[in-house]
């Protein structure tokens, strides 16, 4: 079957199997390999992408279900002149070590910041509760999201 959707602002049309998972279509058919597969059962969050602004586990979504919808993957985060504020704060604050969880973390954080401009630490923790990191101990990640939110909000 043919899937038509918007990915990172561009119209995409691709042949898929009716029972294909979204993550497989992203990685294998569209070469968008920034989205990682960790647990493959919706626990680790490494495969997080945004569908119409909502964070989802792409390992749990049928590719056919995104027909006509708008997706944002990690490849769509950076602006033309490089890393965005969230990505830059992840780098500067040691929120990345092995990096495998980082795309999913960034996508969950992006979904949060699209919804809440100045999230509390608790809101950040809850938004990222579905993203596992075995390296950082989480605190640098939470700091990076909070710092990015401050930076994006501008001077008080």
């Amino acid at each position: 079957m043919r899937l038509n959707c918007i990915i990172n602002g561009a119209a995409v049309s691709v042949d898929i199997d009716a029972d294909a998972r979204l993550i497989d279509v992203l990685r294998d058919a569209l070469a968008l390999t920034g989205t990682k597969e960790g647990c493959a059962e919706g626990e680790c969050g490494a495969c997080t992408v945004l569908i119409d602004g909502l964070a989802v586990n792409s390992c749990l979504v049928l590719a056919a279900q995104v027909e006509g919808r708008s997706l944002l993957t990690i490849e769509g985060l950076a602006s033309g002149d490089g890393a965005n504020a969230l990505q830059r704060n992840f780098i500067e604050r040691g929120a990345i070590q092995c990096g495998f969880c980082t795309p999913g973390m960034l996508m969950s954080a992006t979904a949060l910041l699209m919804r809440v401009q100045q999230p509390s630490r608790e809101e950040i923790r809850r938004a990222l509760a579905g993203n596992l990191c075995r390296c950082t101990g989480y605190e640098p990640i939470i700091e990076a999201v909070a710092a990015a939110a401050d930076e994006m909000a501008g001077p008080a």
Binding site: D19, G42, G45, T48, V56, L60, L62
Partner: protein, 279 residues
């Protein structure tokens, strides 16, 4: 809805319905099953709603847990369901997992089911003729052996009575993490207080993760009736919950853990009921 009925008309026992997909996708991958027909209902926007009508709250089967958690009407009328929704999986899962899917899958640890049982919910189920019939959830869950709903059927909505004066509900859960955890135990309590709001006139309590599917327990509920909202009742309630769990999972390795964990869960339910404002 007409298209759904047409698709249901083609369904066989080897067919599957998919809503949010958070259970079905895992099951298909784990089993290697290739359904002869995969009916995707996730795009049916008309099954996404929460509204009050005729003294009842109605929830569309495709309403996500994120929406249920955030819904103001449900916070007033179904605190136990709001709390259950907030405890489902991660933000990613809550964004797509649906209440209808949670009920249809009916796993032992499904968070919505104890809440819906405590609210005495019924289900609207459409069949392949397009006719919607209503069934009490407790009866659907008791269907022996078969899938819920059956072949050629789909849940389209759920409903329960609007909260009346002096009624309260609460949900509690024990898992290995404070969030994104499969329930080791979950339960929901619904009580009607007397006019003075000093004692319990009626109660329903449902338990999950202690049987193949969540269930209402009339013995524990009856033990609350006529009792004051005091520490003595709280202790009796915790004892009754512990006795029920001990009996329900007498042969399971998890019994020593759960017979103590249920006491904490009973405390959480009791404190929520005592502390929450009545409608």
């Amino acid at each position: 809805m007409a298209a759904l009925a047409t698709a249901l008309g083609r369904a066989t026992p080897a067919s599957r319905l998919i809503a949010g997909g958070t259970d079905v996708m895992l099951q298909l991958r784990a089993s290697g099953e290739r359904p002869d027909l995969l009916i995707d209902i996730s795009g049916m926007g008309e099954l996404v709603f929460v509204r009050e009508q005729g003294g009842r709250i109605h929830i569309g089967a495709l309403t996500s847990f994120a929406r249920i958690e955030a819904d103001g009407l449900l916070r007033i009328h179904a605190n136990c369901l709001s709390q259950a929704a907030a405890h489902v999986g991660s933000a990613q899962v809550r964004n797509i997992a649906t209440i209808g899917g949670n009920v249809a899958n009916a796993s032992a640890c499904a968070d919505a089911i104890p809440a819906l049982l405590a609210l005495d919910a019924d289900l609207g189920i459409v069949d392949r003729t397009g006719q919607v019939r209503r069934y009490p959830l407790r009866e659907v869950l008791a269907r022996a052996g078969g899938p819920r709903p059956g072949v050629g059927e789909a849940i389209v909505d759920l409903s329960f009575a609007s909260l009346r004066d002096h009624q309260r509900s609460a949900f509690a859960k024990v898992g290995v993490r404070s969030s994104v955890a499969v329930a080791r135990l979950n339960a929901a309590l619904f009580v009607t207080l007397d006019a003075a709001r000093a004692s319990i006139a009626g109660a329903r309590i449902a338990f999950g993760s202690v049987a193949p599917v969540a269930f209402l327990d009339e013995r524990v509920a009856a033990g609350l009736c006529g009792r004051a909202l005091d520490e003595d009742t709280a202790q009796r309630f915790a004892d009754a919950c512990a006795a029920l769990v001990t009996e329900a999972i007498a042969q399971r390795a998890s019994r020593p853990y759960k017979q103590w964990a249920i006491r904490g869960l009973a405390d959480d339910l009791w404190n929520a009921i005592r502390g929450s404002p009545t409608h």
